[in-house]
């Protein structure tokens, strides 16, 4: 992310780069409208278990005979909202820590670095597993995303803030006698808006991965009866031979979400600092 942006900023927004953003808008529309437009009750059995796709039930039924298409339409909103919440918390914590580390003495930056390295050394799923034993599913996902993402965000933000601090307009602000906190928030932070948007995308993906992991391991305790896409993966795995569509459909949608968010983050990162100072 270091030298990205400056030289590529003018040529990026072509049709390919905007594809993920368009796909993301479609997906958001689907999960917003979906729950209101389900053909059947997504939480109740409406047919024979494991009916194959086609006919009355477009995507067949699941283990309890619930309509897969209805569950698919109902099961996205909460999932994406939790992932967005987790990503927002992570960015908030990580950015604050990064700005503090950049403003403080080098020792603090070294500590942030050490914590980030510690996270690489701990088996990647372990924080989420441990947290899932304390908090119900959603809380564990948010907490685990913060724990595993905030140090990395902090490292990137501290890095960028240190570089920006050497810029002329920041020096000028310092010479005008503005307070260090005001300089960080008003001068340094806006220049990192593109970086932060891309980072939000990465953390969103992490949250999505943790949601899927806990869903598949059966640790998503507080998902409502209408289910979500991650839990559907677990529910429909045993019926893979009877109704493959029940397993493939949530997998396709989750893949689309992941690709759209990661692709959009890549586009934003390459488009550079976006609304930053010219």
């Amino acid at each position: 992310m270091r030298a990205v942006g400056r030289r590529a900023s003018r040529q990026v927004p072509c049709s390919w780069a905007l594809l993920p953003i368009a796909a993301g808008c479609l997906l958001v529309a689907f999960v917003v409208v979906g729950p209101a437009a389900t053909p059947y009750d997504p939480g109740a059995p409406v047919g024979v278990p494991w009916t194959p796709a086609g006919g009355e039930h477009l995507l067949g039924t699941d283990v309890l005979g619930r309509d897969v298409l209805s569950r698919l339409m109902a099961g996205g909103r909460r999932l994406l909202m939790v992932a967005a919440l987790a990503a927002a918390c992570t960015c908030l914590v990580g950015t604050s820590a990064g700005l503090i580390a950049a403003g403080a003495r080098p020792g603090v930056g070294y500590a942030v670095d050490l914590v980030a390295d510690l996270l690489i050394a701990v088996p990647a799923l372990l924080p989420a597993l441990l947290l899932a034993a304390v908090l119900p599913g959603t809380g564990a996902v948010v907490a685990a995303t913060v724990v595993s993402g905030a140090p990395l965000t902090a490292r990137i933000v501290a890095d960028a803030a240190t570089r920006t601090s050497a810029c002329g307009y920041v020096r000028a602000a310092r010479l005008r006698g503005e307070r260090p906190a005001a300089i960080l928030v008003r001068e340094v932070l806006p220049s990192m808006s593109g970086l932060l948007a891309a980072d939000f995308g990465l953390r969103f993906v992490t949250a999505l991965q943790l949601l899927c992991a806990l869903g598949v391991l059966g640790l998503a305790a507080d998902v409502p009866a209408t289910g979500d896409w991650a839990v559907m993966l677990r529910e429909n795995l045993p019926g893979a031979a009877l109704n493959p569509a029940a397993l493939a459909a949530p997998a396709v949608l989750l893949t689309a979400v992941a690709l759209a968010v990661a692709g959009a983050a890549h586009t934003v990162a390459r488009a550079g600092t976006g609304s930053g100072p010219r």
Binding site: Y110, L118, A121, V122, A124, L129, P244
Partner: protein
């Protein structure tokens, strides 16, 4: 793949990682690197132990299963040494790991190394095959990225690998199962180990778990290394060599491969760390009784010695690879500078 690391800074290199006094050219650098690993390893051990201990409920509750009264639970706790203070148990646990049997499982009372030892071979087979496959795919990905960097300089990496790396591992598992076990009916949807526990006698059961671990790892490795490949190809001496008509193979060997060694090792370290998570998910999904599945069960049953031993073992591998990367980064940087 569970972790998405920031694309460049994590691997792009040594420059800002350490204070200058300990920096690459200093004679103290190797010592500092070893010290850092020791600090990180103790931190991993302490954090995991304390976190596991702080979970609500303990192994005595699991053992009692609600049938034993509070007096019985206290007796169980005293028996297993759970009444000692935390720091004392942690030190005991460290001493146990250095011993022959690694302490005893709180659940079964069996030696920890024996419990892990019977699960480890299956995981080493699947994870090893997955890492090898991922390395091969990653190499192809890097070659493609290099070709792109030469043909269209200044456009940056394509981002296809970054996007693919974002697909959650359980989704990959589900997609593969729906395709190969459901739609095509080619492979078994569960991978139960044959009697004797040797997966190699039944290679068909390995395909889905191995692909589940390998595909995200490959995408993730390519995403991280593509930038390093492009950077190495755009260095002045590589550009110059290309303009002089030096064969591509030689440029790759002489200029790209050395610059890639250190980032590749760092990516390998992260990939190993992520593979422990990957095996846990793949094994739980496909019912393959390996060490990853053991980790999930051990956390659920509050078997702290087993969790601790698995975490420390994995951390030793990861930190060991990072240490090698740090140690060889120095001579390579010096050679490049000449």
């Amino acid at each position: 793949m569970i972790v998405t690391r920031p694309s460049r800074p994590a691997v792009a290199g040594p420059p800002e990682r350490r204070p200058r006094r300990w920096g690459p050219r200093s004679p103290l650098a190797p010592l500092a690197a070893v010290l850092r690993v020791a600090v990180l390893l103790s931190a991993v051990s302490a954090t995991v132990f304390a976190a596991c201990d702080a979970l609500p409920g303990d192994a005595a509750d699991t053992l009692g299963g609600g049938r034993v009264g509070s007096a019985g639970l206290d007796e169980l706790r005293a028996q297993r040494g759970l009444t000692d203070p935390l720091w004392l148990r942690w030190l005991h646990s460290i001493a146990d790991l250095a011993g022959r049997d690694g302490g005893h499982s709180l659940l079964t009372g069996r030696p920890v190394y024996a419990v892990i030892g019977e699960r480890l071979p299956a995981t080493l087979v699947s994870a090893g095959l997955a890492l090898a496959g991922a390395a091969l795919m990653c190499l192809i990905g890097c070659l493609l990225a290099g070709r792109r960097a030469v043909r269209r300089p200044h456009t940056g990496p394509s981002g296809v690998a970054t996007a693919l790396a974002a697909v959650p591992q359980p989704v990959v598992a589900a997609g593969l199962t729906a395709l190969f076990a459901g739609g095509l009916a080619l492979l078994p949807p569960v991978s139960l180990l044959p009697p004797g526990g040797n997966p190699l006698t039944e290679p068909r059961i390995l395909i889905l778990p191995v692909l589940t671990i390998a595909l995200p790892t490959a995408a993730f490795g390519t995403a991280l290394l593509a930038g390093a490949v492009a950077d190495a190809l755009s260095t002045p001496h590589a550009v110059d060599a290309r303009l002089r008509g030096v064969p591509a193979g030689r440029i790759l060997r002489r200029h790209v491969a050395p610059a890639l060694a250190v980032p590749a090792l760092r990516v390998l370290a992260v990939a190993v760390s992520a593979t422990t998570a990957g095996t846990a998910l793949a094994e739980s999904t496909f019912g393959y009784a390996g060490a990853g599945e053991l980790l999930v069960t051990a956390v659920a049953t509050r078997d702290t010695p087993v969790v601790h031993a698995l975490a420390v073992g994995s951390a030793i591998v990861v930190l060991g690879i990072l240490l090698i990367a740090d140690l060889i980064a120095d001579p390579i940087a010096r050679r490049e500078a000449r």
